[in-house]
Symmetry: C2
Subunit: 142 residues, 2 copies
DNA sequence: GGATGTACTTTACACCGCAAAGTAACTCCG
DNA sequence: CGGAGTTACTTTGCGGTGTAAAGTACATCC
């Protein structure tokens, strides 16, 4: 049932693939942003720019940019105001942000579980292999 | 104890930070590569290019590039040879690759655990908040 | 023999994380 | 008062990179 009449070359992968992890949203799947979202998940009342900066050990510019991205993606809301006379930015995860992050986390758990299963499987079937595989005709190490 | 004599501006974050996740290696922390490494973890004897392509639902070019990156990082070995008269590429995770990936996975578990804790904490303390936070003087939604 | 398929590699580019520099307003000190 | 330093950010610049598209080389089918 491979469709006939593909005009030009088309290497589009069939969806699926046991280890494709398509649900790992790009916007979320990022070191720094993972930290930010995790922090915010635990603080429904929101966190200040400075608090986030500390928690995630980010530079100002870095954090600024990531917040902007998360905001544009609709994952967080940003409130700008003043505390006394200094500017203060408050970030809060949105309802949508929470659900999307939770979906992402489910997929992450799947990664961890798959890896654990894989490691287990490998350990139980074959002793850790070294040396060259011999079932290839002409073989070269790189 | 903040060091005196910082000549110019320096926003370098102190290492640490509860949600910094510094152990999430860049090379590994990538959707596609996560799939590849997980696949390889479960197959100590290695996997063929085509098998990986299927498993991870990647295009040829894409997979080629990622394998190259992983190889340059020392995480996988690549063997090139022929099966019959067609070229066949075999990838195998290296010993170092396995340990680095396992370290990465530990950090990933930490992310998941932290997020779970955060969600739990949020649920138990405050009812999900909506509306504007009122403890900022001049507030504006964006 | 050329059209199509397999098994890749190479190229091209748009996007993006991150550090450094910039802005603006306040505070401290001599 | 002035300027040096701090806070709380935003903007800019650039080097790195994921991905689609095109390219290569060989084999097979009609």
């Amino acid at each position: 049932m491979t469709s006939r009449a593909r005009k030009r070359r088309d290497t589009t992968p069939e969806p699926g693939g046991r280890f494709a992890y398509g649900r790992l949203e790009r916007v979320i799947h990022e070191k720094a942003r993972l930290g930010i979202l995790t922090s915010l998940l635990g603080a429904p009342e929101g966190l200040l720019f400075t608090e986030l900066k500390e928690l995630c050990a980010l530079t100002d510019g870095n954090l600024s940019r990531h917040i902007q991205v998360l905001q544009e993606a609709g994952l967080v809301e940003v409130w700008k105001g003043f505390r006394g006379n200094r500017p203060q930015t408050l970030c809060r995860i949105t309802a949508e942000g929470r659900t999307r992050f939770e979906q992402y986390l489910e997929e992450l758990e799947r990664v961890v579980a798959d890896a654990a299963r894989a490691a287990e499987h490998a350990r139980s079937t074959a002793p850790p292999r070294t040396g060259s595989p011999r079932w290839l005709d002409g073989l070269s190490p790189a």
